[in-house]
Symmetry: C2
Subunit: 155 residues, 2 copies
DNA sequence: CTCGAACCTCAACCTCACATGAGGTCAACC
DNA sequence: GGTTGACCTCATGTGAGGTTGAGGTTCGAG
């Protein structure tokens, strides 16, 4: 049978995640590894699923901090079961729903603006998302802050 | 009647965008300003709409580089018309559609994974990183966190 | 004219999620 | 035992989109 331990290179190959990223995850408390007498990392096979979970969570939009927090709710002492993983990933659903809803609202407003051609800071819901009303010319107009972006490449 | 020129503080207040951000936009070629004899910025009132456009574009997921490129297609010499702004913002529509489609696919996969309980690295499309290339292939925008980060505003 | 608030530039710093490189060590095969 | 490649730590870099602070200048009300 195969060696139950994975080197960082093996884990990297099998997960598609760069070694530098795996070390970074460890530094952030998302992964743990045993060490050889020569200080090299040796991962349990269950780490594979943990890494998969991390990547999936990132795709849903969680930060690594949030992923770490979620992982801390896993039971200590025993290997996580399907139910454990399912519980965690089920919690992502509302987040995705919210993201979709936000985008649909944006699209709706965009359509409205193109349709009506208003494009006015005072009256247009796209430019003026918080519905700060159409005061006189000197009224305060607030725009929403920009949506954060994360451009990310894989190794 | 009011002064047709806006100071950076006034523009900041009326747009909700920090002065430091406005200076940054100028450094990136998104805004221009006249200067007083004492080197202080004075913005035309049309800059207000330009700033609104920038923020709206960011919400749709454009980078400032892309916004700058879009703004360069505006006519020089004359003030942009409704048709000009409409043309630019209409081009955002497919981008929003794509983002929504991507999220819906993710949600579908998430449902499938929770439903079937597979949670397998080899068979589950959610965990499986192999189709990530296809997913991100066309200059994809990454997912955004549900709660947008708020930038500080010095006002 | 005075004075404080607002403005200026420039440089340094921040977050996030890593990548890269230097300089050195370990493990496995021949 | 030698070689080679994989591994180690630590420091520094990346990029987007800014913020913060120092040190100095300008504006405009009184």
């Amino acid at each position: 049978m195969a060696d139950p331990w994975l080197t960082i290179g093996a884990l990297s190959q099998r997960s598609g995640v760069a070694p530098s990223a795996l070390r970074y995850y460890e530094s952030q408390g998302l992964l743990t590894a045993e060490r050889t007498s020569g200080n090299q990392r040796r991962y349990r096979r269950s780490t594979l699923r943990r890494v998969a979970f991390i990547r999936a969570a990132q795709r849903v939009g969680l930060t690594l901090d949030e992923v770490a927090e979620a992982l801390r709710t896993l039971p200590e002492g025993r290997a996580p079961t399907k139910a454990d993983w399912s519980r965690l990933s089920r919690s992502w659903r509302p987040r995705i729903d919210a993201q979709i809803a936000r985008l649909e609202l944006l699209r709706e407003r965009l359509d409205g603006c193109i349709g009506c051609g208003c494009l006015s800071l005072r009256s247009c819901t796209l430019w003026n998302p918080e519905d700060r009303a159409a005061d006189e010319g000197t009224g305060a107009v607030r725009l929403e802050p920009a949506a954060p972006r994360r451009a990310n490449r894989d190794g």
